[in-house]
Amino acid sequence: MKRIIIIICAGFFAMNVSAQDFAKDMTTAKTAYAAGKLEESHFALQQAMQEIDLIVGKEVLKLLPPKMDSLTINTKDDNVSANAGFVGTTIHRSYGKFTKKADLSIISNSPMVSMLNTFLNSPLLGGMAGDANTKTVKVQGYKGRLEKKPGSTEDKNDYELQIPLGSALITFTVDDCSDTEIMAMANTIPLPQIAKLIQ
């Protein structure tokens, strides 16, 4: 019980801190702009944008299921990193331990990803046009690319699912599984809600 209270308090504190940071950055941006210090104002606005990206990342993590089939969440691996510029925001969560692991990463607001998505969406460029190990799939109405990779032993396979969403890319990998297994797991990810948050 104590633990739960501590976790709730920590979560509330973290949210409060980022809200405060946002307000602080906005005040700095407004003051600097009024004083004609454009570069300072620009920097503060960028900081504010990073705060928003972090909040969005945390909200996305809250939406993700606590379990993937029999695989449990690794809370220590939960990570959100925000970067202004080319890299964008990265949201990461993993499930399971040792031999069987599932890994979910979402890169959002990155111009590089939007370029990659154009590539993935264009059959002529070879993204969706599959070879023997790739195929186009639909998860909750979103088009994606499923790729089979060699697993831990000869008779096992790893699967990677990539779903492009505007300037965001969702990558979901599961070790030693079948395509039906990964698709069933992917269907538990609330994609429409995530898309609404990150776009």
């Binding site: 454009l38 570069e39 300072e40 620009h42 944008m49 928003i52 510029g85 948050l197």
Partner: protein, 262 residues
């Protein structure tokens, strides 16, 4: 006499051979005129335009595929850059309502507004003429992308007759990194040929590289601080010295300060 006869025969043969296609051409023109007259008669009697007259009209308005060609329009109106204060206020409101997507969008707009203002300030600070070549301010450009601070480009062109200097001030970590790569790897650039077309120089104490190409003229690239870059493209400049004099006429420290570089 024989020679004369041969010559006459040759001229007659040539005339005949030309007469065959010429006759064909005459026949075609005659047919067309006859057809047009008949078409006009039919049009007068029926009141329906004939096929040939329709196709004639279409050719002037559309391409061969039948799609009309655009003859002109008003174009896009020049909109003012985003209002920074209003966008900042909107971002705060959206953040308060936990509408993070809108808050982010407003912040991006505010950033774009600041970048465009900054670009205009820098353009204002540039000299009106360089090595007696005046600025063509109609070609002044400030470009900013929504990605914030990593793709701001400011461009001015100086031009007189066939002599031109284009200065581009950019803020793009990727390009700056490319220049840095040249500095880090001297072997890549200090070509040991009879004629050196690529070398390291300094512009007001800042490291730069200069390149010469017969088709493009001189290109001088200078890294500024961590992510910014200035590129001078000089066409029809007499020599390297003139390029360096031109580059040194710019207030590099002032630009650096405005871009927030150290």
């Amino acid at each position: 006499m024989k020679k004369f006869l041969c010559l006459v025969c040759l001229v007659a043969a040539l005339a005949l051979s030309n007469a065959v296609p010429a006759q064909g051409l005459l026949k075609k023109i005659k047919d067309k005129v006859v057809n047009k007259t008949i078409d006009k008669e039919v049009e007068k009697k029926t009141g329906v335009p004939s096929e040939s007259s329709e196709s004639g009209n279409n050719n002037s308005n559309s391409s061969s595929s039948g799609k009309p060609t655009n003859k002109g329009g008003g174009g896009l109106t020049n909109t003012e850059p985003p209002d920074v204060k209003a966008q900042m206020a909107e971002a705060e409101t959206a953040h308060g309502a936990k509408n993070y997507s809108d808050a982010r969008y407003s912040l991006q707009q505010a950033l774009m507004g600041i970048e465009i203002q900054l670009g205009r300030q820098i353009l204002k600070s540039l000299p009106p003429a360089i090595v007696s070549v005046p600025a063509d301010t109609l070609q002044d450009k400030v470009m900013s992308t929504q990605w914030g601070w990593s793709n701001l480009s400011i461009q001015r062109v100086y031009r007189k007759d066939d002599k031109q200097l284009t200065i581009t001030i950019g803020n793009n970590g990727l390009y700056a990194g490319v220049v840095n790569m040249y500095f880090a790897n001297a072997g890549m650039m200090e070509a040991n040929n009879d004629k050196q077309n690529f070398k390291q120089v300094r512009v007001k104490g800042n490291k730069a590289i200069i390149q010469y190409d017969d088709r493009k003229g001189y290109t001088l690239m200078m890294q500024m601080g961590q992510t910014s870059l200035i590129v001078w493209e000089c066409i029809n400049f007499a020599n390297e010295q003139e390029v360096m004099t031109a580059a040194n006429s710019f207030d590099i420290d002032g630009i650096k300060k405005m871009m927030g570089e150290q």
